[in-house]
Structures are given as structure tokens and as C-alpha cells.
Symmetry: C2
Subunit: 333 residues, 2 copies
DNA sequence: TTGTGTTGAGTTAGCGCTAACGTAACAGCA
DNA sequence: TGCTGTTACGTTAGCGCTAACTCAACACAA
């Protein structure tokens, strides 16, 4: 490995002080245009690249943020991550990716190492931390964006981005009403998931508006995977064979449920209508194509990154974005 | 934000020199067990965490690596990334995730910023760089693992991990032979993809062993997506309606092709048998379930990370792992 | 007793960069 | 002419840590 060119090398070559070179490369005022150009030429020629450690040590700033997700393999988070990464790339930021595996302990550990690395901010998706633990994390990082999670108190260095789950559920129920489906099940996600709780609320409210009594037998909780959807749907169909509409926690669950319905000899959408949430790529790959609440995932990712950059720059702060999903009517309902 | 505790703070509290504290936290010899324990207790109490920049500046080591993939949204890379991240987490490494979007220029830019950050090594997946450009990157990083790409010359700081595409293709063709399918198409991926080239070779070889003449009309090139598979399959079916077996570049392409076949009224697998490659989750979600060459993606990710750690530690080097995929026979062939 | 090695520390210097301050030269103005 | 402000640089100091060296104290063999 070749020794790196340092600021001092450039300074010597240009016969100026290191500070002048520093100002030139950081595009700061305080030197003439000719000299600046000359230095930049030298920088180019000599292949100089600033040392991130030295800079970080001196400025206490990296251009690096942490992205914490439960599982980057899940299309939901993969899409968000992609949006974050794209926006990061455009703004010359780098991102640390960490999976928590839906495990609060691992999440804490991940945030710990990220903090050690002195990152400028964090985008934390679907945190499983307790309110108290989350408060602690929020105050220890310079800037933090929470996706899919809220916090009671506002913080100057915090922005939250949440999907309007409540309305999402109501919109789904309304569509089922339009289709004249009255036996509506909700196959929910993990009980400790916040978006699950909000969707369940919306589901109950939707029933109430339609004056349909709430039947606990029609509400299930499962893992947010196809397999989870399969298991829950099988249990549901045994328990309530008369069900004619299923609102699924997400598209993965919806697809699993749809397949089990078909295996039970129930036609989708004729006998059972199914609606998911998220609109992951699978929704249009599967047949029948999935009717689902479209959530602009990549957009959320980009938004999160941009919001974080503003936060780091001292702008914005204490905002709460609400993302309105939209019903994409396809073939399953 | 609270001021961080530094080594000096601990040193003062313990009434020893900073160096002694440094030795204690880095588990190096040179101090008594009692003192070490006392210092570690203080570290714990005072919530001291070493500053990564300072350490990096002094040692020129981060515990950070870069993971470069074309698109983290693609299940293929998402699975690999997950394996890498898991292994990284276990070994207390952090990973920078970067997408290249299959774009050589963006790949170069990404590697440039990673290099600036002084990372210990890179895992580079499906690089689109030219041989020459790749050689340059290999010599500039301390350690590098290439996934899905080879390099002519060996390097002491390089390990490659490749799937045996050639044999993969041959195994697929053999299975088609067993099924007595003779009109076999290959819907390949991007022409500049190395694995595509190797699979095409294997396809041709397989035909030769079976004494089936090579028909260029049966070979297509497309984007490695469902949509790509759809387009290619539609073109194929118009061109050669008598085709009764399709070897697809990957599972996404296979699924797209499968759906188009069905839409054209061709039953899968009765009239057209289809085999993909990779065995992404979608393969078992879709109906009929996809017969495919199973590639242990998460395992490759873990292997890559472990190999990289060995490389960074000065062990290993210049190895070339060959991953043998396995035919998972399901319902599409 | 002297010499030699080992153990357990401390001291020095510097990694590469930037913030903050210092300063020379010159322009503009009363 | 003297004062103030501005521009264009240079100097100093230090971010927090560790490598490499130094050194004292002690054990032990000859």
C-alpha cells in the first residue's frame, strides 16, 4: 500500500501553509481564486484525499449516518433503505446498515456501536425499544429520525415519519363495505408492533362506523411473513369459515393468506377479498395481483435522509411527518 | 449533548497515565490484574467509550468494512447483505452499505468515498468494473473480497467467491433431459454480467453433451427482473412456440417467464418446464413453486465477511471459493 | 555482589486535520 | 495623516488516542 498524500504534502508543493490548502479544499473563503485553483489542481494531480479520521477528530463530524432496520431482507425495509441510500449518496453521506432482527437487545447494542463511531445521526426504523430506552437514545445522538414510531415528547433533534395506519385501516374497511363484505377479519402483525396497534384501532373504528359488531374471533396476530399469513389464515378459516374479507397486516401476510384461501377452495376475490399494506414488488408479481394500501417506501427513505441532513445542519427539528397511503385496487379485492 | 468521557478522564480518576488505561481497555499486557480490573470498573462507571476517530487516526484501523452491491432491494443481494451484516455484528464490525445501480461510474465513486473513510476492507458484489479498473481497486484497499466476479491475477489481499455457474447450467440441462425436454431456451441476464456469460457457456455445453444443436433463437438477454422475464418470454413464445423448457437467468426472470407462459395458455410445468437460479424467498411463495438452483446466499454473505476478517488480520489471502449450487426440485419443472 | 531479564508502569511524540486567533498589506474615508 | 475595515494568508494549539521508547523495581542465577 502506497502512503497517502497528506495536506502537508500539498502545502509543501504549493509553498503555502496547510491552512490555506484546507480552506481551498473545503471551499471556504480566505484565499485568492488563482491560488485556490492552483491548489485544487495540485490536489487532483497528487491524488490527495482528506483523511476522514483526522477530519472527524478535529471537527467531530463524519459524513456518516446509521440506518437501523429490523431486517434488510424484508422488502419493506429494503425499499426504505434504498431510498435512504440514494439520498445519502447524492449528499455525499455514507450509511452504516445494521439489522436488529426485531430484538430490542440487539437494537440497543447496534445503537451503542453506532454511537461509538461518532456518526452524525441515525435513522431508526420500527424501533422495538421501550419509550424510556428510546428517549435515552434520542438524547444521546446529535440527530435522529424515527420511522414507524412516535415519541410523546418532542425533541429539537428528532423528526418522526409515520404512515397514517389508522386511516389506512379505515380506507380498507370502506373498500370492503363498497364490495358489500361484512365478515371482515384482521390478520395483524406482532402484538408489540406500533403500526399493528394503530391499524387495529383503525379496523375497530371502521367496523364501528359501519355498525358491525366487533368479533375478537376475527382478529389474529402473527409474524409479518408469508408463513405467518398462512398459519393465521388457516386458523381463521377453521374458526370462521364464513369470513369473506381479510385485511392483512402487510403484503407478505396477505399473500400467505391468499394462498391458504385458495388451498381451502375459496376463490379470491370472489369468495374472500384480501387487502394488504405496503405495496411491495411482490404485490404485482403474485396472481391475482394484490389490492393493497400503497406506501411510498423509497420516498419515505429519501425523506428520512433529507430530514436527517437538515437536522444535522441545525435546521428543522421536532417535526412529525405523516405519510398518507393510497389504496391501489388490483385483483384481490 | 453531554461531553464524552475521554481516556484522560479515566486516567485522572484512576491516578495513572493514559497509557495504562489504554492498555487496560485494549486488553494488552503491561499492568497488574488488580489495577486493570480497577480501571475497567471505572470505565464502566464513567461510561467511557473510545473515540473511533482518535483511535483510527492513531492506528489507521477502523473496524468497518464496505459492502458494495448493485441494488440492496434485489432479494439476491439483500440475502447476501444480511449474511454479511450478521457475521459483521458477531465480530463487532460495522458495514457501510452502498448501491451501485449496476453503474460502473457510480461503483467507482462509491469505492472512492469508501476508500476515503479508511475502511479496513471491502466486499464487492457483482462488480461491473473493467478488469483494469478492478485491479486498481484491489491494490488500493487493504483487503477485498469479490463476490460473483473473478480476477486473472491472484493478489495477497484478495479472496473471490463465485457460484459455479457453469455446472449450475449443466445441472439444469440435465434435469430437462431427465424430463425429456429438448427445446430448451435460455433467458439470460445482462450481456455484461459475468455469471450470465458462464451460465450461457454451461448451457451450450449441456446442449452439446445432449447432442442438441445450438439454436440462437432460443437464447435471449434481458434485465434480471420479473418484467425482464416477461418481455423475454413473450418474445420467445412468439419466436419459438414449440419451446418446452426454459432456463432462466434467475428466479425473478423465471417467475416473469412463468406468468407469461400461463398467460399464453401454456401450462407450467406440463407444457413448459421452467427452472430459475438463486432460490430467493419468492421461489417458494409463487405458485407453482419454482424449481431452481439453490444458492446459499446468506451463507455466502457470512463466508465473505469471515474471509475478509481473516484477510484484514493478515491470514488467508489469494483464495478462490467456489460455491456449488444444488437443484431444488419443486413444481415448475 | 553483580549482572541480566522481566514486569509494571510513565513519557514523548505524532497520526492529519481544522478552529481560532494573529498579522501584514492595502483600500477607503474623514 | 491617521483610523478603520477587509482581504489573504500564516501560526498555534489541540481533537483523543496509541506506538515506541524509557525507566524503576524487583527476582534470580552465577
Amino acid at each position: 500500500m502506497i502512503k497517502r498524500t497528506t495536506l502537508a504534502d500539498i502545502a509543501k508543493a504549493a509553498n503555502v501553509s496547510m491552512m490555506t490548502v484546507s480552506r481551498a479544499i473545503n471551499n471556504k473563503p480566505g484565499l485568492g481564486d488563482d491560488l485556490r485553483q492552483h491548489i485544487l489542481n495540485l490536489v487532483e494531480e497528487m491524488g490527495y484525499r482528506p483523511n476522514t479520521f483526522a477530519r472527524g477528530l478535529a471537527t467531530n463530524q463524519t459524513t456518516t449516518i446509521g440506518l437501523v432496520v429490523p431486517d434488510n431482507t424484508n422488502p419493506f425495509f429494503a425499499q426504505i433503505a434504498r431510498g435512504v441510500e440514494d439520498a445519502a449518496f447524492e449528499n455525499l453521506y455514507n450509511i452504516f446498515l445494521v439489522n436488529t432482527n426485531e430484538d430490542a437487545a440487539r437494537e440497543t447494542a447496534a445503537l451503542e456501536t453506532l454511537w461509538q463511531k461518532g456518526i452524525d445521526g441515525v435513522i431508526l426504523c420500527s424501533s422495538r425499544l421501550s419509550g424510556e430506552a428510546l428517549e435515552y437514545q434520542v438524547q444521546r445522538f446529535p440527530a435522529i429520525v424515527l420511522v414507524n414510531r412516535e415519541l410523546k415528547q418532542p425533541h429539537a433533534n428528532l423528526i418522526t415519519i409515520n404512515v397514517n395506519d389508522h386511516r389506512s385501516a379505515q380506507r380498507v374497511l370502506q373498500h370492503f363495505m363498497d364490495l358489500d363484505r361484512k365478515v371482515i377479519a384482521y390478520i395483524g402483525g406482532p402484538a408489540n408492533s406500533f403500526s399493528n396497534q394503530r391499524r387495529l384501532e383503525g379496523y375497530k373504528n371502521g367496523l364501528r362506523s359501519a355498525e358491525i359488531p366487533y368479533d375478537p374471533q376475527l382478529v389474529l396476530s402473527t409474524q409479518p411473513t408469508t408463513e405467518g399469513g398462512r398459519e393465521a389464515a388457516a386458523a381463521l378459516l377453521r374458526r370462521r369459515p364464513e369470513v369473506n374479507a381479510i385485511f392483512a397486516y402487510n403484503d407478505l401476510v396477505a399473500v400467505g393468506a391468499m394462498q391458504v384461501c385458495q388451498e381451502f377452495g375459496k376463490k379470491v376475490p370472489e369468495e374472500v377479498a384480501i387487502i394488504g399494506v405496503d405495496d411491495i414488488p411482490l404485490a404485482t408479481i403474485i396472481r391475482p395481483q394484490l389490492t393493497t394500501m400503497h406506501v411510498p417506501l423509497a420516498h419515505i427513505g429519501r425523506l428520512a435522509m433529507r430530514a436527517l441532513i437538515d437536522l444535522i445542519g441545525g435546521e428543522g427539528g421536532s417535526a412529525a411527518y405523516q405519510i398518507e397511503p393510497e389504496l391501489f385496487i388490483r385483483d384481490s379485492a
